[in-house]
Amino acid sequence: MSEKPVHIAQISDLHIKPPGSLAYGRVDTAAALSRCVAALNAFAPRPDLMVISGDLADTPTAVEYQHLKRLLAPLELPFVGIPGNHDSRELMREALPQAYAFPSGPLDQHLAIGGLDLLLLDSSVPGKPHGELEASTLQWCEATLASSPDRPALVFLHHPPFKAGIWHMDRQNLLNAGELAAIVRRHPRVQRIATGHVHRATLTTFAGVTTTICPAPNHAVDLDLAQLREPSFKVEPPAFHLHSWYPGEGFGSVVTHQVPIGEFDGPHPFFGKHGKLL
């Protein structure tokens, strides 16, 4: 077993539109992605892989996937993606040929990076906003998890299997979450379930596993926990997630960081002359 830590960057919900177009009439998602790419290129240590957990495009159209690829060209890390409800499986297969588990249907993938396994699940339902894991995905997931019971695994999917408390997002989360829970409970090697869709950094425990939602690099869904406003967004600070796996006893440990994208004052030292606190 490899002794090196593995760093997986996760970005999500890019909503790339045709060049010159703004998402929702206001948000320049292309510029946001460019800033995100620059931030990842500058990050140390260099992440081993970047996972894009869905909604790569917006409408979607082939032009948007071409635009996405041009925006990702400067990225110095390898990357993989899974579809969200704003994606098309066919257009994504064509634009991003990857080692998908199935030649058609769900875009599931398994990757092994050093001592860590990644399972990428396609929760998209063509034409619908909510998520569901198809029978073939569930079977594949179960079989893949069963095949190497001693290796830690991170599971990625677009739709969260839990309710974040935002009414118009909760009704379009992963509808068959119970089936995922049953599989996860049978496989203690799952160390993290990482999702997107809600455009907010959110955390919970699902089926005994720490489960996250990744923030978006562009805009956030308004945290409308009580006010029942119509579905709205706010341009909150952009960020990405970094899941760092450290080898150790048992399955090791996974630490997830929320990394803001932008220019911030620092880093400045804490200590000055004679090692005294400044």
Binding site: W167, R171, D224, A226, Q227, L228, R229, E230, S232
Partner: protein
């Protein structure tokens, strides 16, 4: 209420309960019929299930399996909220803080594809109706609480909803403003005549606004009735004490009289009981000369309220009685007085109530 003039949809809540994922029961299965144009108030303390009931009618929650919601006899249970044509006013108003008053009011119309001119006309109509002329171009964050509440109401009504749902819209306002707006809200609801479901924990709001009131407790309906029915004929102790002030007396009964420490009190109607739980409202107890009175007590305190005097009298019943006397009655703490109560004013409640 003039049913013939009522607008909007009739509502039937059929066997709707709500259990949360952790097993807690927010609402026991309940059935409720709301007439077109009626203002129905769901009243009760925090946790009684009134908001769960409202959310099920709105379409924000699904009832437990077996429950149905019908608008004009049409099953709406599976219809999402944005297709139910309901207008909502919630405690925190849910307005867009950085949009103008006019844009907020017109938002629901905009997303329904209503053109600019018609939108402007409708917004002007509602601005006049809710008394906020001159504020059209202000941003929400510049308005007072009372002004925001009017904007929220205008916005809810703009789309010509079949049903208007209000969840404690006055609760966040200070007492004086609340009283004033309550009257305004009442006039507005009467003028609109739309089927309205109003949730509150405040019984004076319920009494003033409701054609009928549904009193709720711990997830169940305790009583449904008009304000008069609820006030004069509460079905149990909870309802009696929740609406208005109530003296609750538990005592043995003899010969159609309550047997009390300070004397005897006749009860009206059929009183073939050995013991009773009775409710007597403070305004029905008259202060008389102690001499020949069937029921006597000693005044503990007198509070001059203005339009009346509130007196606490002990010794008549096993617990002190509260009564409201006219403001002209001369009485002092420590005085021995007689109490006269008409038999019909003694309302019997179920035993163990």
């Amino acid at each position: 209420m003039n049913v013939a003039a009522g607008h909007g949809a009739s509502v039937r809540v059929e066997n709707c309960g709500k259990t949360f994922a952790d097993g807690t029961r927010a609402l026991e299965p309940a059935t409720l019929d709301i007439a077109r144009g009626e203002t129905l108030v769901l009243l009760g303390p925090s946790g009684c299930g009134k908001t769960s009931m409202l959310r099920i009618i709105a379409g924000l929650e699904l009832p437990d399996p077996g429950g149905r919601v019908l608008f004009d006899d049409k099953d709406m249970t599976a219809v999402p909220i944005e297709q139910r044509n309901v207008g909502m006013v919630f405690q925190s108003y849910a307005l867009f803080p950085n949009m103008s008053v006019a844009d907020n009011i017109g938002y629901g119309l905009k997303i329904r594809g209503i053109g600019r001119e018609e939108r402007a006309r409708r917004v002007a109509e509602l601005v006049a109706l809710t008394n906020i002329s001159g504020l059209e171009n202000r941003r929400i964050e510049q308005l007072s609480g009372g002004q925001r509440q009017r904007v929220a109401l205008a916005r809810a009504v703009a789309i010509r909803p079949g049903i208007l749902l209000l969840d404690e819209p006055l609760t966040a306002l200070d007492a004086a403003l609340r009283d004033r707006l309550r009257g305004e809200l009442n006039r507005l609801l009467r003028a609109l005549g739309i089927t309205t479901i109003y949730v509150t924990h405040d019984q004076s709001e319920a009494m003033e606004l409701g054609d009928r009131i549904v009193v709720m407790q711990k997830g169940s309906i305790a009583q449904i009735g008009t304000p008069r029915e609820i006030y004069f004929a509460p079905k149990n102790r909870f309802v009696a004490e929740f609406i208005g002030a109530a003296n609750i007396i538990e005592s043995p009964v003899e010969n159609g009289h309550l047997v009390l420490p300070g004397g005897r009190q006749p009860i009206g109607g059929d009183a073939n009981l050995a013991a009773a739980v009775a409710m007597i409202r403070p305004e029905t107890i008259r202060v008389v000369e102690a001499e020949a009175a069937p029921l006597k007590g000693i005044i503990d305190s007198v509070s001059f309220i203005g339009d009346r005097q509130r007196m606490i009298v002990s010794g008549a019943s096993s617990k002190p009685l509260t009564l409201d006397a006219p403001n002209t009655v001369k009485a002092q703490a420590g005085e021995r007085i007689g109490l006269s109560i008409a038999p019909e004013a003694v309302r019997l409640l179920p035993p163990g109530s």
